[in-house]
Every structure is written in structure tokens, then in C-alpha cells.
């Protein structure tokens, strides 16, 4: 057997979301773990087929919101009561009802920033280069094609056996993904 250049994985191309979900289910059931599916829009069924359950983001956003709210309140407390106390209209220094609107806004701001930057960080973005972009037809993944990639790093991966397995899924095409 002649030596091949190491590859990132094998990419199978599908025409429609139904075939993609069915194929992803088969790949997952077969035991491949280092795999990913690519689609031009989010497909709820695909997440189930790939055995994905929830993610950490909501918890992070909750923490971001709580931190933002506490930070907002104590910022106002520290500035108005401790660092620069100033009497206005006989109101108490710690006039907490006046601090609520800004506390609320800071809660939303903290949570929203965590949602966006947390999502990007967990997704590993920005990542301008990725091996799947080396396959020319992958440009259609952002238009109307659906892809499954099994990575060579998977313990079950074998260039020939995996290709034969992918062929049983009846894809439109199979391509090697170079590094």
C-alpha cells in the first residue's frame, strides 16, 4: 500500500436536509465522534442526530448578567456613597430605588456581551482558515449544499473503510479534505 499524504478527513456532500440528517444519524450510530455536519441554515433535527445535548452558553449568559447587575449596582453605590458622597435634595446617599434602572441596564449589557462573545469563543471564531475550505464545492455550504466531514483524527477512521462507509450513505460526492 503506497503512502498517502495525511488528510484532514473525508467530506460527503448531500442535496437536501433530510438526507443530511439521516446520514448524520448513521455516522453517529456507527461510532464516529470526530465528525461535523455543515448546513446553510440551522437544522434542529441535526443536533439530535449528532447526539448534541444543550450547551454551556445559557449558564455563561446567566453569570454574565449577574456580574453585570452586581457590578452596575456596586459601581453606583461606591461612587455615590463612598467615593464622592453628595447630598441632593435631602435624599439619602444610598438611595437604592434610583440605582435600579442602571442596574437593570448593566445586567442586560453583561448578559448580551457574554452571549455574543461567549458564542464566538465557544465556537472558536474568528478562525479564518479551516481545512474544509480547501474542498472547492464547500463554497456551496453557505448556499444550498449539505456536508458531513469525518475527521482523520477519529480513532475509527481508515481512509478506505471510511470512504466505503460514506458511500453507503448515498452522498452526491465524496472528497478528501487536504490540510
Amino acid at each position: 500500500m503506497k503512502r498517502r499524504r495525511p488528510i484532514y478527513g473525508l467530506l460527503a456532500e448531500f442535496d437536501n436536509p433530510t438526507d443530511l440528517v439521516a446520514a448524520a444519524q448513521r455516522v453517529h450510530d456507527y461510532g464516529y465522534t470526530k465528525m461535523d455536519a455543515y448546513s446553510p441554515y440551522p437544522i434542529e433535527e441535526l443536533h439530535e442526530a449528532m447526539g448534541m445535548h444543550g450547551n454551556k452558553l445559557p449558564f455563561l449568559v446567566l453569570c454574565g448578567g449577574i456580574l453585570g447587575g452586581l457590578g452596575g449596582y456596586f459601581m453606583q453605590y461606591w461612587m455615590s456613597v463612598i467615593d464622592y458622597p453628595i447630598h441632593i435634595g435631602g435624599r439619602p446617599l444610598h438611595s437604592w430605588p434610583s440605582f435600579i434602572p442602571i442596574t437593570f441596564e448593566m445586567t442586560v449589557l453583561g448578559a448580551a456581551l457574554t452571549a455574543v462573545f461567549g458564542m464566538l469563543a465557544l465556537n472558536g471564531l474568528p478562525m479564518p482558515y479551516h481545512p474544509v475550505f480547501n474542498v472547492p464545492s464547500f463554497a456551496l455550504a453557505s448556499r444550498d449544499r449539505f456536508f458531513i466531514c469525518i475527521e482523520a483524527a477519529d480513532s475509527k477512521f481508515d481512509p478506505d473503510a471510511t470512504r466505503r462507509f460514506l458511500e453507503t450513505l448515498k452522498p452526491r460526492a465524496i472528497a478528501e479534505v487536504p490540510h
Binding site: S80, Y84, S98, A115, M119
Partner: protein, 463 residues
């Protein structure tokens, strides 16, 4: 989205127009929306529209330069009316922005799929309206270069902090948060579409720019899962945020003791007015864009009809607000309150008050009739009338309450100068310019969300 929800049933309803005309595929949707951006030829009409806006930007530049050289004395504001066009236009613009957030966040949570083809440019409208709104209070400070330490709590050499007990500070935080969250929401929605533009553009420079902005988005299922979570959470966060922003804007008035301002009805009445004015602006923008770019198959009569209904509902809430103001003027038995409402109806600014009633209460009643909601000229004209009406409303709230408060000695009149109008028309020009740049360089309709509402996007049961 849950499994029971089938977008096809929305399309198949024979009584109502569909939310997307049949016959489209994933490819045709992507190509049609992408083509407005990727085409080499800029339509002549685009140059005309952008040119009109750019004239306004020049006017804005001249007005602001004159303002900074000579000070706020060039405006009509004086004692007792210290809040003239600045606060009127600030509230008007920020209110217009609210429809964009309502469409993108609240209608998303309510699973109103028809929002899909209008949310992108409505969000852009929000951003540009907030940018226009924010200029007014900033320049109203007179010395915007000092406003940073008046408005934002940053450690400065004077060792002082802003006054957090003031509604004006709450407003700074509300508007700053609103602007930031709107920008993030808009940008997150754009990421997958920027990836589409990256993959479709044939020239190096656009491909590079869209590629950098898309940040390497590749449509991975693992990414989509977190993306959808983030998008939904942002919608959930924006919903209370948008309500809080106009509530806090209304606190600028309601926390004061001036007759006509000191009312508990202000927050809901302001929020409804914001949505009312905002949807009118969405219609004013959507109708010409739809005709110019031939988007009748994406922005269907169903969208226009639904927006007209929202204008009618919020218009009725606003009308209730006017009724309650008049009722409490009498029922409070407070001479200043009753004088305030009578002064609005019969005083020096009575013409504007009755114009406001005609524009905001009478005009939207046309939308009770299906024939009116189906007529594009009627939709456009009523929307323009409502936009004027909401501007009159803010004029009445700001000016009539200030020009006659408690003591006859503190009575006066407010007359805007040409520099007031210069800044107002200038911000309209800025808004139009930004909108035209957006239409030319970014997808005006969310491409990936349009794909999800196509019938073929549905995953069929596998045998």
C-alpha cells in the same frame, strides 16, 4: 423551533397571502438577495437616494460646525423652554428605532415567521435611528468634548462621578446599552450571510472584507447550535431592554414635577408610541425598497397587512393615552393640570395639538378596512402622517408643558430657528445615507433565515 410548528401551514392558508411566494429554492433566495450586494453596477436610483441623503449630511456638518463655533444660542431654546428640538428629535428618533428591535426580538420569541424578510433592514433602521438620536443630547450639552465625564463614570483627574439619581443618567445607560445590544444583535444575525457573500463574491477585495467579517463561519452544526442559543438569548434580553429604554426616556419627563409630565401613564404610553412610530417608519422604508428592488415575492402583502394592524393597535393605545391625559387634567382637580390640558387644546400651540390628534388618532383608523391595508398608496400615506403625528406629539409634550408651568412670570414661547431645522433635516439625511450604504453593501434581507422558511427546509420523516 419545535416540531409541531410547520411553516408550510402558514404559506398554505388560502385566505391570506404567503410570507414568501412559492417557487423559490435555497439557491434562488441566496442569489437574489446576494445579487443586490455583489452586482458590479450600482443602480442609478441608488445614487439619487444616496445623493439626497448626502445633501442632508452636508447640512448636518454645517449646522454642527456653526453650533460648536457659536454655541447653543443659535437654537430657539431659551427660558422657560430649555428642551426644544433636541429632546423632541431625540425621543422621535429613539422611538422609531424601537420597531426594529420589536420585529427582531419580540416577534422572534412569538414565532411570527413573517418577520424574517423585514427584520434585517428594520434592525439597520434601529441602529441608524439610535445614532441620530444620540447626537441630540450629546450636542445639547453644548460642549460634547466635556460630556464624556458628565455622562460616563470613568476615573477622571477631577475625582468626581456622575449623578446617578438623575433620570438623565439612567437615559445615558439605557441608550448606550440599547445601541450596543442592537449592534451586536444585528451583527450576529449577519455572520452567516457574510459567509454566503464571502463564498459568492468573485472579486478579491470584497471576498477578503466579507471573509474577515464572517470570521471563518462555516455552517458547522456545532456552531449553529450555540449560534441559535445566543440568538434566542439576545432576543430574550432585547425584549425587556427595548421596553425599558422608552420607559426610561419617559422618566426624563415623568420624574419631573412639571404639569403634563408628572404622570404614571408615561412609560406604557411612550412605549406604545415608539412602536407606533417605528412601524410607520418601517412601512415608509419597506414600500419603496420593495418596489425598487422587486422584492414583492419576499416582502409580500401579508407583511404590509400585519404591520398596518400593529400600527392600528398601538395607535389605539396612544389614543387611550391622550384620553387619559385629558381625563386626569379634569379628575385630578389640580388647577395646574387642568390648565395644562386646556392650554394644549386652546393655547398658542393648539394647532399642533389638533394636528397631532388628527395624525395619530384619526388617520390610523383607516386600517380597520381591509381595502386600506391592501392599498400601497394608503399604507404609505398613513405611515407618513403617523410619523408627522408622532413628531407633533413630542413637540406638544416638551414645549406646551414647559412654556406655561406654575407661575405667570415663567411663561414664554418657543420658536425653533433655522439651525434647529438644519440639525433635524441633517439627521434625516444622515439616516438616509446610512440606510443606502447598508442596502448597497450588506444583505438587506436575512438570507439564512429566508432559507429556513422555505418548504424544502423541512426535514422529512425517514422511513
Amino acid at each position: 423551533m419545535d416540531k409541531d410548528f410547520n411553516p408550510k401551514t402558514l404559506v398554505a392558508d388560502p385566505e391570506r397571502p404567503p410570507i414568501i411566494e412559492p417557487g423559490h429554492t435555497f439557491g434562488s433566495v441566496s442569489d437574489k438577495i446576494g445579487s443586490f450586494v455583489l452586482t458590479h453596477r450600482t443602480p442609478k436610483g441608488w445614487w439619487v437616494g444616496f445623493g439626497i441623503g448626502f445633501v442632508g449630511v452636508m447640512l448636518l456638518g454645517q449646522t454642527l460646525a456653526n453650533l460648536l463655533l457659536r454655541g447653543t444660542g443659535i437654537w430657539g431654546v431659551t427660558n422657560p423652554v430649555g428642551w426644544g428640538f433636541d429632546i423632541i428629535n431625540f425621543v422621535w428618533w429613539i422611538g422609531i428605532g424601537h420597531a426594529g428591535t420589536l420585529i427582531s426580538a419580540i416577534l422572534l420569541l412569538l414565532r411570527q415567521e413573517w418577520r424574517t424578510s423585514i427584520n434585517r433592514f428594520a434592525e439597520a433602521m434601529t441602529l441608524f435611528a439610535v445614532a441620530c438620536a444620540a447626537m441630540y443630547p450629546l450636542f445639547h450639552t453644548g460642549r460634547p468634548w466635556l460630556a464624556i465625564y458628565w455622562l460616563f463614570p470613568y476615573p477622571n483627574t477631577m475625582g468626581i462621578w456622575p449623578q446617578f439619581r438623575s433620570p438623565l443618567m439612567w437615559d445615558v445607560f439605557a441608550v448606550a446599552t440599547y445601541g450596543t445590544v442592537s449592534l451586536l444583535f444585528w451583527f450576529v444575525g449577519l455572520i452567516p450571510d457574510l459567509a454566503t457573500l464571502r463564498d459568492r463574491s468573485r472579486k478579491r477585495i470584497p471576498r477578503f472584507i466579507y471573509g474577515m467579517l464572517a470570521m471563518g463561519w462555516r455552517g458547522s452544526a456545532r456552531h449553529w447550535s450555540r449560534y441559535e442559543t445566543a440568538y434566542l438569548l439576545l432576543a430574550g434580553l432585547s425584549t425587556p431592554l427595548v421596553l425599558s429604554v422608552h420607559t426610561i426616556v419617559s422618566f426624563d419627563f415623568a420624574v419631573g414635577v412639571i404639569p403634563g409630565w408628572h404622570a404614571t401613564i408615561f412609560p406604557p404610553y411612550f412605549v406604545a408610541g415608539a412602536i407606533f412610530a417605528g412601524f410607520a417608519m418601517v412601512l415608509i422604508l419597506a414600500i419603496p425598497i420593495r418596489a425598487f428592488y422587486r422584492l414583492e415575492d419576499f416582502i409580500t402583502m401579508r407583511h404590509l397587512d400585519n404591520m398596518a394592524k400593529i400600527i392600528l393597535v398601538t395607535g389605539l393605545i396612544v389614543a387611550y393615552g391622550y384620553m387619559m391625559e385629558a381625563f386626569f387634567g379634569w379628575y385630578s382637580a389640580n388647577p395646574y393640570e387642568s390648565f395644562m390640558i386646556l392650554n394644549r387644546m386652546k393655547g398658542p400651540y393648539a394647532t399642533i395639538y389638533w394636528l397631532l390628534i388628527a395624525c395619530n388618532v384619526l388617520a390610523p383608523q383607516a386600517f380597520w378596512f381591509k381595502s386600506m391595508r391592501a392599498s400601497i398608496p394608503a399604507l404609505f400615506i398613513v405611515s407618513v402622517i403617523v410619523s408627522f403625528g408622532m413628531w407633533f406629539e413630542r413637540f406638544i409634550i416638551v414645549v406646551t408643558s414647559l412654556h406655561r408651568d406654575f407661575l405667570p412670570s415663567s411663561r414664554g414661547m418657543y420658536y425653533p430657528t433655522r439651525w434647529d431645522f438644519g440639525m433635524f433635516f441633517g439627521t434625516i439625511g444622515l439616516f438616509i445615507s446610512l440606510l443606502f450604504l447598508f442596502l448597497r453593501f450588506l444583505p438587506m434581507i436575512s438570507i439564512f433565515e429566508m432559507r429556513t422558511i422555505l418548504p424544502q427546509a423541512e426535514v422529512k420523516e425517514v422511513k
